[in-house]
Amino acid sequence: MAILTASRTTAPPRPVARRRPRRRVPPVLLAFLLVPLAVEGFWVFWPALQGFWLSLTNWDGVSAPAFVGLGNFGELAGDPIFRGAALNTLIWLVLFGGLSAVGGLGLALLLQQERRGVGFYRAALFTPVVFSLVATSLIWQALYQPDGLLNQILPVSWRHAWLADPDTALYAVLVPALWRQVGYVMVLYLAGLKGIDPTLFEAAKIDGAGRWQQFRFVTWPQLRSVNSVVLSVIIIDSLRSFDVVWAMTKGGPYHSSELLSTYMYATAFQSLRLGYASALAVVIFVLAFGVIVAYLVRAFREDDQ
């Protein structure tokens, strides 16, 4: 699950302190700020810098790291497992991200109106969000077993060892991840839809707009900011996806469900190639960088209002 920003629950934010000139910052206040900053600095920023440095070394965790320049990245370029994992991550981004966005929006549109039973439907679709991805994986692994429910209800010719076949493993892992993510995106869109001024729809109706036109010319433009939140969330979540793959297939069989995140973890903590793994992490960082910056720019602008 990812990051969201909040602040609009009571009144629109309003800068407070700026209007009177301040004397120096009291020492207690300085501690209020510096202690958390030091904690984050020590456990996030400092390790992150080390991570970048390690990607330029051949460290194995035991002997001293030796500087190898961009050697790891050169090796990555010729590494077929890396290429497969990168392709899978792209597939994951398109299918996991795309389908959860479309599905979440569809469900939100279906369930936006308050009426009888709608609370139950929303709760049913949201429930998987609170499960851990590991528990989710185990639930679905039971479904996928040769004698599991899925193979029971499918016609005989369709029966299949879904997780054991390199052709289907990635998609078999993707379904549980979607099962959980769709409800989450639905909640985001439900909140966005709730925020649209109902008089806009009335005006559109008076102008003779049909249902599709209302969606196209009122709902969709009004959802612009939610769309950008959802976009950031699904990209960041896609690149972070790890648990569900690790719990179900560990990236196998034959790396067929390998994502960059699982390959990185296995390289670091199973093959103990810490330098090479750090280079993989840097690649993931570079892929996420654009989204992070876009997200921060948006946060920056909203913080200003």
Binding site: L4, V16, V44, V226, I292
Partner: protein, 270 residues
């Protein structure tokens, strides 16, 4: 008729969504012989709570649950305490460069965790806390802080300045203003973040398997993988373990439903 169509579509989807959950519940109350004899996808022919007993005691979930609480509760408290403090300083006072600091802190939370895994595990070894629960607590606190600070400072900025000025005139110090005025007014946001933080930390796998190694110190979520390895194809025990592992977050969700949803959703409305 439109009404019927709506309930048909929404009802079918809900049943589909709940089906895997129903199935895991049904599997958890079956006996091993029933599953072996009639197949995993068959309807139950038996009823027994033995799988829960097995998972909880022999499977080590009792210990794992304790570990989870020992990690999750301190992480939630520490994260919110530290984030509230920094958010207070950043939102209620004129700190030079405050916006840059806020964005820097948020940026830390947006980093892909992969870039931190190797250095963090080595840092824990260096400090001698590798493979202990405090390591997991500090790592999770550090990584989450930026996000919680960002949310809380936005919330605190919305509190009118007059209240604080009145208190200052009455001679209240920084700590009093924080503790007696701002913090109580931030309660809804704190509740929402506490519910979210609990769920995230409780459900975490990646950080746990990065700083922990021994089976007996693993929290419930990573321990589930161990349970699965221990009880290969004993699906009733694996299912019971999954149910047990899901209970705390489901309970938090049901208890704090409104906060939970608003915590997820407020961001989307901006």
């Amino acid at each position: 008729m439109r009404h019927k169509a709506f309930h048909l579509v929404a009802g079918t989807l809900s049943v589909l969504w709940l089906l895997p959950i129903a199935l895991v519940l049904l599997t958890s109350i079956r006996t091993f012989d029933d599953i072996a004899g009639n197949g995993l996808g068959a309807l139950p022919h038996s009823f027994s709570l033995g799988a829960f007993d097995e998972a909880w005691n022999a499977g080590g979930q009792a210990q794992a649950m304790l570990n989870s609480l020992l990690v999750t509760v301190p992480t939630v408290l520490l994260s919110l305490a530290l984030a509230a403090a920094s958010a207070f300083a950043l939102s209620r006072f004129h700190i030079p460069g405050r916006r840059a600091i806020i964005l820097l802190m948020l940026a830390g939370n947006l980093l892909p965790p992969q870039i931190l895994l190797v250095p963090v595990s080595k840092l824990c070894e260096l400090l001698g806390i590798y493979d202990t629960l405090p390591a997991l607590v500090v790592v999770q606190v550090g990584f989450g802080l930026g996000f919680y600070t960002f949310v809380l400072q936005g919330f605190m900025r919305a509190i009118p300045g007059e209240i604080q000025q009145a208190a200052t005139i009455d001679g209240a110090g920084v700590v009093t203003i924080f503790w007696r005025i701002i913090l109580p007014m931030t309660r809804p946001a704190l509740a929402a973040l506490a519910a979210l933080c609990f769920t995230w930390v409780f459900n975490d796998l990646l950080w746990a398997i990065t700083v922990l190694r021994t089976g007996t110190v693993m929290p419930v979520t990573p321990a589930l993988l161990g349970l699965q390895g221990q009880y290969v194809s004993t699906w009733n025990v694996v299912a019971a373990g999954s149910v047990i592992a899901a209970i705390p977050t489901v309970a938090v969700f049901l208890r704090f439903q409104r906060h939970f949803i608003s915590g997820l959703a407020i961001g989307a409305v901006k």
